[in-house]
């Protein structure tokens, strides 16, 4: 599939989970395709990074379900901050472990999973819909983390085959497999689509974290996680990330950044990034 074909299967108002973690292995080419679309009123579930920032900046997010939003080497995302401080999005904040349990519950077709995480915290105070559950084994009263059922999941892998078997080659699978399993339809973008046999030619089968039975489509997206990290294929583009943050400093600079990088298709984006990197080296 192409990024545009994936976005054509999404609808306004959907709940969309985005894989990766902070500014690491985010399906950025799919996010950029959403920015170019007329989708709106999305509920986004994410271990948030610039995916959240960009979607907030484009006014695509109605409701954000998250435990944090960070660019890692830069602690805070300016667009997420602005969206929150302007009251532009509805914020649903959970402990990052609760998000894991919410995805796990959805993938198990359960309505909730019990946990101690969140008890006594502002997570309960700010989520009036949260309920507790009394253990039938000893009576402990625990938090009932509701399932985070997703209409769609978007994740980025290092490699995948055309059938949807996804492979990560970096240090951490994050929660990408669970995002896929919790979704009605999951889409995997990847650095390279390869033959199935090639996936395990040099790598342990345990690197195959996503199974094709939970994947609806595969997108070949070289450099698709840019500017987030996608090791071992590439590190985070720190210079570009800094320019993203600096551009958020004024409406004029953001308009310039958008025109150059976001109001063009994915090929245009990659060409502009390459031109910018070449300019920096010259």
């Amino acid at each position: 599939m192409t990024e545009e074909q994936v976005v054509a299967e999404l609808r306004s108002g959907m709940t969309i989970g985005i894989g990766g973690w902070g500014s690491r292995r985010k399906p950025m080419s799919l996010v950029r395709a959403i920015l170019r679309s007329d989708l709106r009123d999305l509920t986004v579930v994410s271990y948030g990074g610039p995916d959240v920032g960009l979607l907030c900046a484009a006014g695509k997010v109605r409701r954000l379900i998250y435990g944090f939003v960070s660019l890692d080497s830069i602690p805070l995302d300016p667009h997420f901050r602005a969206a929150r401080e302007n009251g532009q999005i509805e914020s649903v904040e959970y402990d990052e472990g609760m998000i894991y349990l919410g995805l796990l519950a959805a993938s198990h077709r359960l309505s909730f999973l019990p946990t101690r995480a969140g008890l006594g915290s502002g997570v309960v105070a700010t989520n009036p819909a949260l309920r507790t559950v009394v253990s039938p084994y000893g009576g402990e009263e625990l938090l009932a983390m509701p399932a985070l059922a997703l209409d769609a999941a978007l994740v980025h892998a290092n490699r995948a085959d055309a059938h949807g078997n996804g492979q990560y080659l970096g240090p951490d699978p994050y929660f990408d497999d669970l995002f896929c399993a919790a979704a009605k339809r999951a889409y995997v973008s990847c650095e390279r689509v390869v033959e199935t046999a090639e996936l395990t030619a040099d790598e342990h089968p345990a690197t195959l974290h996503i199974r094709r039975d939970v994947v609806a489509g595969v997108v070949a997206a070289a450099n698709g996680a840019h500017f987030t990290s996608c090791v071992p294929d590439y590190e985070r583009d720190e210079a570009f990330q800094r320019s993203y943050v600096e551009a958020a400093g004024s409406p004029e600079r953001w308009a310039e950044f958008s025109a150059r990088y976001l109001e063009v298709d994915e090929r245009g984006y990659q060409e502009a990034v390459a031109a910018s990197a070449a300019g920096a080296q010259a």
Partner: protein
């Protein structure tokens, strides 16, 4: 060896948090707690587990801006959460606000949740950490902005919040210490109120009082935070932080 700087005194206080920690994961946030954890492992707590900042458990002691000498395990985020829920971890978090009962805030500043004055990171893992395993806090700038009567959002769960939530929240709650650039504090006062444990060398009690946004429990003569040993100073200066990153967090 020259006298210990304030950052070095703080690092040793952070190391002391991990005495008798055994084989638990040390998760230090901030430069000084990171030095402390590596110092503890290099000296009195060799059993500590420690990540490389990503998903690998490193072996040996390595410099702050370097890579571990070897890998002894794999701990992706999912496994960290599961380890945390099992209790075998001591986290040192670096919150923006802490109050007298140990509630800690890293989410936002303001009084309207849906429109905060200043958005911060979000609750991250603080709620789950605090109700599951030992937790301490590091405040590189002890001030009335950081030590407040009441946090704006309870991310790290304090003793009063846990008590209000019930036994399941209190069962494993174990807030150890608050280490600041001025002093070491704990929750040993009446009703787990924050108490002054020791003052760093050269700090007067009045300075701490003036920099704290609530009344601290002070019991009698307050001792001085212990000074680093010669060997601890050598480890910090030569092996753990040779490029003096610590001076950026606590000015010498």
């Amino acid at each position: 060896m020259s006298e210990a700087t304030r950052a070095e005194v703080c690092a040793v206080a952070c190391a002391d948090l991990l005495r008798e920690a055994g084989e638990t994961l040390a998760s230090p946030f901030g430069i000084v707690p990171m030095i402390g954890a590596r110092l503890a492992r290099a000296t009195f707590s060799p059993g500590l587990l420690m990540t490389d900042g990503e998903a690998m458990l490193g072996s040996g002691v390595w410099p702050l801006d370097g890579e571990p000498k070897g890998v002894e395990g794999w701990l992706p985020f999912r496994a960290i959460l599961e380890l945390a829920w099992g209790g075998s971890r001591h986290v040192v978090m670096m919150p923006s606000q802490v109050d007298s009962r140990g509630n800690a805030n890293i989410s936002y500043i303001g009084d309207d949740y849906q429109r905060p004055a200043v958005q911060l990171l979000g609750v991250r893992g603080a709620p789950g950490n605090t109700v599951n395993h030992p937790t301490s806090y590091w405040l590189p700038r002890h001030s009335t902005r950081a030590l407040v009567p009441r946090v704006d959002m309870v991310c790290g769960v304090g003793y009063d919040s846990a008590a209000a939530a019930g036994p399941a929240a209190e069962r494993f709650l174990d807030l150890r210490q608050v280490i600041t650039n001025l002093a070491v504090l704990d929750f040993g006062g009446p009703d787990h109120a924050m108490r002054l444990v020791s003052l760093h060398p050269g700090v007067e009690p009045a300075e701490v009082e003036a920099s704290t946004g609530f009344e601290l429990v002070v019991e009698g003569e307050v001792p001085e935070t212990r000074a680093p040993s010669e060997e601890e100073l050598r480890l910090i200066r030569e092996e753990i932080d040779p490029t003096r990153l610590r001076d950026r967090e606590v000015r010498p």
